[in-house]
Assembly symmetry: C2
Homo-oligomer: 161 residues x 2
């Protein structure tokens, strides 16, 4: 990996004097949960400015225990009260056969990969997991959507609040 | 939350015909792990184009079990072989008192919030956690850096490979 290329790119970014807000609390009180997929740029998709929303990303955009931890901090320490979960078409987690993923070295602890079976029903189940967690404020607004990686379109699936 | 505003922004994004690669495998074989902080836009900081890198984000940019899960998928199913972990100054997780974070509803399962004590030593410990995981390919290139949320500068801390 050419790390130097990354450091050089970051110097150009700083020289451009980005509009960095002082405050850590997201001004839109919003947290976006989505997949790590390289074709997704949530900031661009939703036209976000710096300081508006927390962004959590992992394999699949699944509401894992780590996402609940992050949401608990996002809500309890930084005041967000809305969560958008965005999964996407042609996700690597769709129908992933866990057996096909073997650890490259011996002694690996078993992992639940949280593969996706059906985008729509898994997304609804993950929204329910947020709604039912005692770490989530009861007045939280929740929405789910699916990003089409071929067209760049967002298909809203569910929202309330 | 005004969800309609988000859906409208996403329509503008799709109308702009973003250059979406067909392939899910990141062309730079790179995964970036960073914090959910609203002041961080990793795509902008590193001048990334769609399709170049996976991005994982959570509270603190910590190498949680969920990040190991995501890296296992990123490497085993989608061929990445480099990981950059980026933490940042004035992170909400620095010195976070877990006792101050109370669940808003009764019956919450206890959570390890993974608070940060020292950016530099926690970052080095998290890089070691990646290096030592049996789910990570032995030829993985690893780097760590700290993003300064006041200047937009990236301070490289460690890199190899």
């Amino acid at each position: 990996m050419n790390w130097h290329e990354l450091w050089t790119a970051s110097e150009r970014y700083a020289e451009g004097k980005p509009a960095l807000p002082h405050d850590a609390a997201p001004s839109w009180k919003l947290a976006i949960v989505t997949c790590m997929d390289a074709r997704i740029d949530p900031v661009a998709v939703f036209g976000l400015h710096l300081g508006q929303a927390h962004v959590m990303r992992n394999a699949g955009g699944r509401v894992s225990d780590d996402v609940i931890r992050s949401l608990a901090v996002s809500q309890g320490a930084l005041g967000t009260r809305a969560v958008l979960v965005m999964m996407h078409t042609r996700c690597g987690m769709l129908g992933l056969d866990p057996v096909s993923l073997r650890a490259p070295r011996p002694g690996a602890e078993p992992l639940d990969f949280l593969p996706l079976v059906s985008l729509e029903s898994d997304l609804r189940a993950d929204l329910a997991k947020i709604r039912e967690s005692a770490w989530i404020y009861p007045d939280t607004a929740l929405a789910g959507c699916i990003f089409d990686v071929d067209t760049g379109r967002v298909i809203p699936l569910a929202s309330h609040g």
